[in-house]
Symmetry: C2
Subunit: 363 residues, 2 copies
């Protein structure tokens, strides 16, 4: 045992020079000597170098659609903190935008879209536009693939069908997404068609990222938590499981992480039924509970789930909380992450402290 | 067995004339012949008779503090639908208001309060004002106790300490309550003192309602779900468990229902540790999961949890969804409710249909 630990320690010391990818190891079910690390929204407004690049563009979407700049902001947190994963800089709403349902970002207010409500709206969606419209995004993935250090995994992503549909029906963000939940009940046929078209688009978008060089794919179902269990199964879990199954055929070597934020007790159904390689836990999930759940259900890489607010508080408490998560996941594959995105008011020093602490921790 | 069923059927038929209270039976662990029924926000804007009364007052709080009117609006849904529970018409924010932290309701925008942030703010809270300030609320409870039909249980309520503190720190509603979560981390001593003062105030407010005639008490922790598990334990579960323990001494015959909205997997800790008689489930909780959980943990009355949006959709689907909840709770004490409050755009006919359906269902 001592020999093994010494071997692992030695490998850890020379981590940056080897072609090892801790993040892909964890998704393959290998526990390793420490958790892999990346953070949702690790590229973004809390970094001065990001704000510098952002100020050169007229809009947030322009940044997403300019390979030079999107590549640069994707790399910034990897360079600064030594993350194990680089997540493509993009937005979940590029999918409806690419289908011909335009999205614009109003400064300080979030996304604005037309409100989707009818069969006529459905007929306006055009799947044939997707790869052309998102060509700059796939170009960004190609550049990242060619640039990233050999130990860093490139993560592509997409919004999940339900979350995309929810923004389309509401015309933007909402607290409870009542309009989307109501359309799903009042016009289940129309809504099922919308979810099916979005499911196809998400598969296409993720497969294109895998073809361009993405090594892992995350599906963000940010608003899964507003649905009751049977609606969550129908509009979130089942479509995401179909996406996972189709991607296993299209790009069998690229693992998928599902992040059904707010799923609560329905996380059990995700662990049992989704077929994903990784399960992203939101802030509210007790890691002990998730760990014993995946043990019962045959194992799965867990990802999460430090409260982003902890990064704004006292450093010692934040590090203790991070350690408690690592300990609760003990001897199981873990990708350390936050339970939600990095907050804009986070100091880069807090993130640096967290990553350095985790790189010296043992899983 | 047939004799028992016939007896129950007969009792059911003459339900309105007997001094039986299905809601209190369920909280005492008795299953009965059907679930007891009440709905969160069953009195409110969706009822024309409520809007009529509300239009006679200048403000929402004036309605809460006027016994004639508050009594009337509490009774409206009981009269119209034959609910098994009448919940006092009031608001969770009357507690800070009574402590000297004034609340006002801005039409269409929700509550506004000063922002709590310091030791000086804490010293402004005055527990000795509470019973005097809320005397009209207790007068409303007394009038209701004297008026309600003998089969209807009178439910008093309070906001939970965390949820009240969250509104006080934010100065109103919020999506994620980051300011409150941050104050709890940056000044845990100050925040613990605030939670302790609010805990005392909640006990006082609930005990006063019990003294005035409330027969069951619900504690709304509407924003429990924004906290990570260990913070939820510290600021939600532990204070609410202390409240339950103190009320068991002050008013041992009055059962307490906890509603920690969004608690997710932490509902397990509530079932195990809180000491409550009833556990309110939010919309996202699978009833099967909750039922098997409380079985393992020694039993507890479950309350919930139809999606309020279901009441806006097709009636048949709504009734099927309600039946599925009743079936999933089979042979366990159940208080049927929504997973969140009745939405203002709900039609009273939908509520009537739901209640009539449930009264003819069998648990």
């Amino acid at each position: 045992l001592n020999l093994v630990i010494e071997e692992e320690t030695r490998l850890n010391e020379v981590d940056m020079t080897l072609r090892r990818k801790p993040l892909l190891d964890r998704l393959a079910g290998k526990v390793g000597d420490r958790p892999a690390i990346w953070l949702m929204r690790q590229a973004g407004r809390y970094l001065p170098e990001y704000r510098e690049i952002r100020s050169q563009t007229r809009s947030f979407l322009e940044l997403c659609y300019t390979p030079d700049l999107a590549t640069e902001v994707t790399l910034q947190p990897v360079r600064r903190f030594g993350m194990d994963g680089a997540i493509l800089f993009s937005d979940i709403l590029v999918v409806p935008d690419a289908l011909g349902w335009p999205v614009r970002f109003v400064e300080g207010e979030g996304p604005r879209l037309e409100r989707f409500s009818s069969q006529r709206d459905l007929s306006r969606l055009d799947a044939t536009r997707l790869r052309g419209h998102l060509a700059p995004v796939y170009e960004t993935v190609r550049r990242l693939e060619a640039t990233l250090p050999g130990n860093v995994a490139l993560i592509g992503f997409s919004g999940a069908p339900w979350t995309l549909a929810a923004y389309m029906v509401e015309g933007g963000g909402a607290r409870e997404f009542h309009a989307a939940r109501l359309l799903a009940r009042q016009e289940p046929g129309l809504f099922a068609d919308l979810i099916e078209q979005l499911t196809d688009a998400v598969v296409d978008h993720l497969a294109a990222q895998a073809e361009a060089g993405a090594e892992a794919l995350q599906i963000f179902d940010s608003w899964a938590g507003v649905l009751p269990p049977q609606e969550l199964k129908r509009w979130c879990l089942d479509p995401c499981s179909r996406i996972v199954a189709r991607l296993k055929k299209l790009c069998p070597d690229v693992p998928v992480i599902l992040f059904p934020r707010g799923a609560g007790a329905s996380y059990v159904a995700y662990a049992r039924e989704s077929g994903a390689s990784g399960l992203g836990l939101d802030t509210s999930v007790p890691m002990e509970w998730a760990a014993s759940m995946v043990d019962r259900l045959g194992g799965l890489c867990l990802q999460g789930n430090l409260d982003p607010v902890a990064l704004l508080g006292p450093p010692e408490a934040m590090l203790a909380e991070a350690s408690a998560i690592v300990e609760a996941a003990a001897r199981r594959p873990l990708i350390f992450n936050l339970g939600h995105g990095v907050l804009p008011q986070t100091s880069p020093e807090a993130v640096a402290r967290l990553v350095s602490h985790l790189k010296s921790s043992r899983s």
